[in-house]
Amino acid sequence: MFRFILRRVLVAIPLLFASSILTFVLVTNIGTPKKIEDALARPNASQAQIDSLRRQFGIDKGPVERYVDWFTNFIKGDWGKNYNGLEIRPLMWDAMQVTIRLLIVATVVSVLLGVLVGVLSAIRQYTVFDYLMTFMAFTFFSIPAAVLAGFLKEWGAIKMNPWLREPSMSTPLIIMISLFGLLCGYLVMKSRLKFEREKPLSKYLIGAAAGLGIAVGGIFVFNFVWGGEVFRKGNPKPLIPTVGQTTPGFDGSFIEGLQDSFWHMLLPSTALILIGFAGYSRYMRASMLDVMSSDYVRTARAKGISERRVTTLHGVRNALIPLVTIVALDFGALLSGAIITETIFGWSGMGRFFTEALTQRDPRSLLAFVMITAVSVVIFNLIADIVYAQLDPRIRIG
């Protein structure tokens, strides 16, 4: 195992080195920084000013010299100054902390949700639940992050907040929710009963009644707890915020700070969770189906092990292994989603850092940003490789 890790690390180092060259080549082609362009557009721009600006952006030398300069400084931890003359490293550090928090929450929740739904879809293949989840996954797969985040911002917060302050439900809505509960309960019972021999009407009725009960209970709880004074009292600001990752100038206890972060994170992380969940549940379903039709699962069943033990101990455990790689490989896509979502919700994380660097065409910020993403992608893949080898010893030999 140690040799395996060592080999992987030794592969990763030249890869990162090559990646730094690629990053540099890409960033040298971004054109003149916006500041220099603005200066050139001014009628009284002197050559000396332009030259000093070029020096400030570090684009006054030959490419090779610039690369060596940047790379050695980058390794040493001196990432230079951005277009505003601010040190990039502390800026990047702050941005990363904001984004990483979002990414961790989104990944953990979407993986948990995806695994749960994927396993259930696989063991209840071709039931109503399976079709419903498949359709949901495809839908979220097909929604661009900008659309989902924009939708959530408008309907989950801006339209939602006044209603949360003065919540009320019309009678037709209550009837509709009750009918929906009835239908859900019926469908759940129906898919549960699919493989059973006896299908008495009473079981369907029990399911429908349970669904109705949940819906009515929900409305009841809503009207008496949520609809009461709980959330409105002493809370002048909107409940679900739409801008920023924390309330600016927030001053409160630790618990209140946690609550504040929670409400700020709710919608951006929901957007990322839904997109991530779509992919993970599909992978998990496929992987689980594969495992459940394998020979060792048949052997386990033949030995008389209960179906529950077979699915959990033999099935899910092995089906989880390929997911490790998927989650690591998905990091890039997740980061891209986070950039969009953060921009829509006005977070000052990596998303803002990147969009600002792009609009300013600021070479040093872009170099730092792209390099950091490359480093994190490589590290994630490394971790995935090692975890995979730990879980599946066959890999280590290859």
Binding site: I30, F138, P144, F354
Partner: protein, 305 residues
């Protein structure tokens, strides 16, 4: 009387036994695909949408650049079924034009992704050795930077670029996954007996790659190409969101969504219609890809218990 004729025209049992035609692989695939209901519905919907957005603008009274000064910021009405923006440009005209552009971008990019991915994967997998090592390390290198970021950084250098540069840039960097799939398949197929037989009768490398091995990969390649269409449309939206998509006066769906987001409160219809369009198209494409995957997958019968 009618009964007797039908009885007579029916083939005798033994005759029918020998007239059963063997199904070729492609026929099986087409049959399975035709029976995949979500995929077939999606295919029909997608074709209808495509025909509509390419043909209807010929008759539609509002071209996508025309400003109707009498109707600014109008919500949807009979005259403007998708409303108008703050300059009086017609929503439907713009959504149709944007869908055209997005479809064009997605198709070109998907074509490039497939071509490059298959080419690199096939060469790496077939020749192995140092060619494989170089190509795969290059693939790893491109994969170190997330697609959206790499594409955004490249396109920011071409602020006046024509629209067709966007799919070219997307194609240049998004082929990596397909190349890996194709390479893995080639590595296993090149050891098979039929390749050895082809080599024994003196077939050249090029012939073996294209005539003997590649047809076996039609399934995964077609599926990946289909899914790349949806993936590219979504990436294009993200790119437009960062302000790096097509340039005005040209429009794409991503461009329209970005425009709609800026004035969500006052003109929500400018967000809803392009969003709905892209979601429906991507959903259809994904379902078609799923149907194709099922149709090509020989293991399918086994899993379906």
């Amino acid at each position: 009387m009618a009964d007797t004729t039908t009885l007579q025209s029916a083939p005798a049992p033994d005759e029918r036994e020998f007239s059963v035609e063997a199904r070729s692989q492609w026929k099986t695939v087409v049959r399975r695909f035709l029976r995949h209901r979500p995929a077939m519905i999606s295919l029909v919907v997608l074709l209808l949408i495509t025909l509509f957005v390419f043909l209807f603008p010929i008759w539609w009274k509002w071209p996508y650049t025309l400003r109707d000064k009498t109707a600014r910021s109008q919500p949807p009405s009979w005259d403007h079924p998708m409303g108008t923006d703050e300059l009086g440009k017609d929503g439907l005209g713009r959504v149709m034009r944007g869908t055209q552009r997005s479809l064009e971008i997605a198709l070109i990019a998907s074509f490039l992704i497939t071509t490059i991915g298959v080419f690199i994967g096939a060469i790496a997998g077939y020749f192995r050795g140092w060619i494989d090592a170089i190509l795969m390390r290059f693939t790893d290198l491109v994969l170190t930077i997330p697609l959206l970021i790499i594409v955004a950084v490249v396109s920011v250098g071409y602020p006046q670029a024509p629209w067709y540069l966007i799919p070219i840039i997307l194609g240049m960097f998004a082929w990596t996954t397909l190349a890996r799939i194709v390479r893995a398949e080639f590595l296993s197929l090149r050891e098979k007996e039929f390749v050895e037989a082809a080599r024994a009768v003196g077939a050249r490398d090029r012939r073996i790659i294209f005539k003997h091995i590649l047809p076996n990969l039609a399934g995964p390649i077609i599926v990946a190409a289909t899914l790349a269409v949806a993936g590219t449309m979504i990436t294009e939206t993200a790119l437009s969101f960062l302000g790096l998509g097509v340039r005005a006066p040209d429009v794409s769906l991503g461009f329209l969504i970005q425009e709609g987001l800026t004035a969500f409160k006052t003109r929500p219809w400018l967000f809803w219609f392009p969003s709905a369009s892209i979601v429906v198209i991507c959903l259809c494409v994904n379902f078609i890809g799923d149907g194709l995957r099922d149709a090509f997958d020989p293991k399918q019968n086994r899993v379906k218990a």
